[in-house]
Assembly symmetry: C2
Amino acid sequence: MKPSIPKGTRDFSPDEMAKRNFIFDTIREVFHRYGYQGIETPAMENLTTLEGKYGDEGDKLLFRVLNSGPVLLTIQSKGADQIKRADLAEKGLRYDLTVPFARYVVMHQNEITFPFKRYQMQPVWRADRPQKGRYREFYQCDADVIGSPSLVNEVELVLMIHEVFNKLGLKVVLKMNNRKILTGLAEVVGEQDRIIDITVALDKLDKIGIEGVNNELVEKGITADAIDMLQPIIKFEGNYNEKIDLLKNLLMSSNTGRKGIEEVEEIASMLTAGSFELDITLARGLNYYTGAIFEVKADGVQIGSVCGGGRYDDLTGIFGLPNVSGVGVSFGIDRICDVMEELKRFETLGIRTSSSKVLLTHFDKNTQKYCMGLASSLRAAGISTEVYPDITKKIVKQFEYANKKQIPFVVVVGEEEMQRGQVNLKNMSTGEQHPFTPEQLIEQLV
Amino acid sequence: MKPSIPKGTRDFSPDEMAKRNFIFDTIREVFHRYGYQGIETPAMENLTTLEGKYGDEGDKLLFRVLNSGPVLLTIQSKGADQIKRADLAEKGLRYDLTVPFARYVVMHQNEITFPFKRYQMQPVWRADRPQKGRYREFYQCDADVIGSPSLVNEVELVLMIHEVFNKLGLKVVLKMNNRKILTGLAEVVGEQDRIIDITVALDKLDKIGIEGVNNELVEKGITADAIDMLQPIIKFEGNYNEKIDLLKNLLMSSNTGRKGIEEVEEIASMLTAGSFELDITLARGLNYYTGAIFEVKADGVQIGSVCGGGRYDDLTGIFGLPNVSGVGVSFGIDRICDVMEELKRFETLGIRTSSSKVLLTHFDKNTQKYCMGLASSLRAAGISTEVYPDITKKIVKQFEYANKKQIPFVVVVGEEEMQRGQVNLKNMSTGEQHPFTPEQLIEQLV
């Protein structure tokens, strides 16, 4: 009987945890410094909260929790033909952090100080087909401000994104668009009802190229005139100012479109040049967003986006609290971790295992007991310390333990050292070895 | 439609998170300093991993995850009478951290350096009847060493427990017992097959008193002679040395019993006096433990144990890796949090909300933009800073925001201050207010 774990799930070893925690800690520190506060919601939500929020496809991917109690009896008494999924499960596992957050805001609206700047870092579960880089349990890491229409929030999110990736040592491209520009485009080409078809096609530009996009537009039944009018946008290659000029020209007759351009310009006015790339083909789950749309891709790797988000105007409406505007971003921890592995950033940044700093080795009960006292002093000085727990004459075995665990320093305590009150400290990477008194040892290691 | 969460689950607000994180961080720091390394396992485990590990009662309390795919079709094709629970669910939510850890050790035995000192802080789920202090989702926080029979591990766990509660500002009593002493007792009273009945009764001494224990022993069919022989133990009131002497006398004829006393004495020899209280009535889920047994109770509150653990000799045997000895402790985060609330320790320790240090307030777009620049400098200096995001002439509203969020400092930037290059910093608790240049402001707040 070989034990295993469910497909699409993972164990994280100490080394993997050290790397992941570095990413979590980096993001959390930036969130805090910008005034975002953490919350947590339960892994299980009522299915009434989750169902219908992620489309039909999403509903299929929800993990449902079997009702406790006599489920089999329920099936027998109702009969196999009458039984419904709702009879089997009334709870499900969190599918993302956004819907539980909306639910949280509505439930706790009287305790919350608005604008509410919250972050949340917790796992989510999706019954997706597992494949490379796609898991059934993975972490999301979201920051949202809710209850403030100000574009200052968008600006700060852009600053936060850059700070995070800077600290992680990753070069990224932050693309920004605005839903209102997309709406304006659909309006001016005379296809305002087809905004979804148009933007879904535009969104694929990176993947299928101009011809592909045009083919898809034809397939979706967009008129030839409209497709013609979209060409300058699709084909456009120019800098930020040129793009804004083009858009102003193109969207002159659309109020919404002009408002979108205005928002982009206001955000840009509060940022240094190059903080974002205006990308009119960016859409990202459009139904949701009503203003700015963000997406971040890492330079130098072929991997999807590592961060994304945008403004939404009615997230909490689904739970009965309408007209609360919000804006947020979500960091994809697993992808970020993959990118950092691929680019060997953990090595560059010196993120190693979470091992102790020093191992104290010995030869018998007596010297081990001395080590225990020494360990107390070292730990009291904040030095992460291990005493090899078992008694063994084989010092080699103890060194092997230090080596495998990448513990950088080893102290050897023999009878003689103990008597002399000086122990040998060995630097495991240089091989250097020097005798020190306990006080000197602390100075060396602190 | 009022949204709600499943019974027995909880949302954690920013304030609650600040308190909980203080406890988590404290424990994690001590774990690290003693050389324990973190791992994580998935929330879902295969039911083959979980079932049969927690007794019949435990199996009933497992949350099972409904298989994805057409479950209703399966029910119809098998028929209501033929369907089994295994047809509906093959995965379940983690019930504790111990069984997943055993599974982890067996699965990863070739990558692990033994002795393996690991900690794990993750939620677990139990379909228990929710009640005060008992939840269906709660955190466990475990540290275990596996692959080392040395009592040094027990000693270090005792030290760690004291360090943790010291840092949390909680006075605790650490009770210790040894399973071998309990086995010895059952042997010498001639009831070695009844060790479970005897220890279950002894374990209730705190709750039901001497008479209650004796009644239960009678009910369980323990002989009158045996009960007589147990009286000195049950009634015993004396110090550590007297207790050891009594036990040595009583257990003279039991090899196992003598070994248990020896272990207690060896552990005591490596600790300062008063590090633990020897409690021969302590049992704690006895089937599991084979050596030391620990339990920690907080002084001054009527609440169950806040930490417990012990040595087990065959945890991984259930997954096919026999003879691996381990010892560990588990901290009950939720109870610890409750105790700290009750004793107002968060106040004493100055653990407040996770709010920013300073809010920058303004009167219009112009002064807000100045605040954005100021915020950049403050944040670059590591100061957690917020700019009130919306434009409002009502400075009162901005102060109200700072008050509600317990932000300790507010900076006011008017047109005049901006021109002068000096802004007013107000200390929200004293009401004091002084003008500072941006550089001075950083010095004040850093």
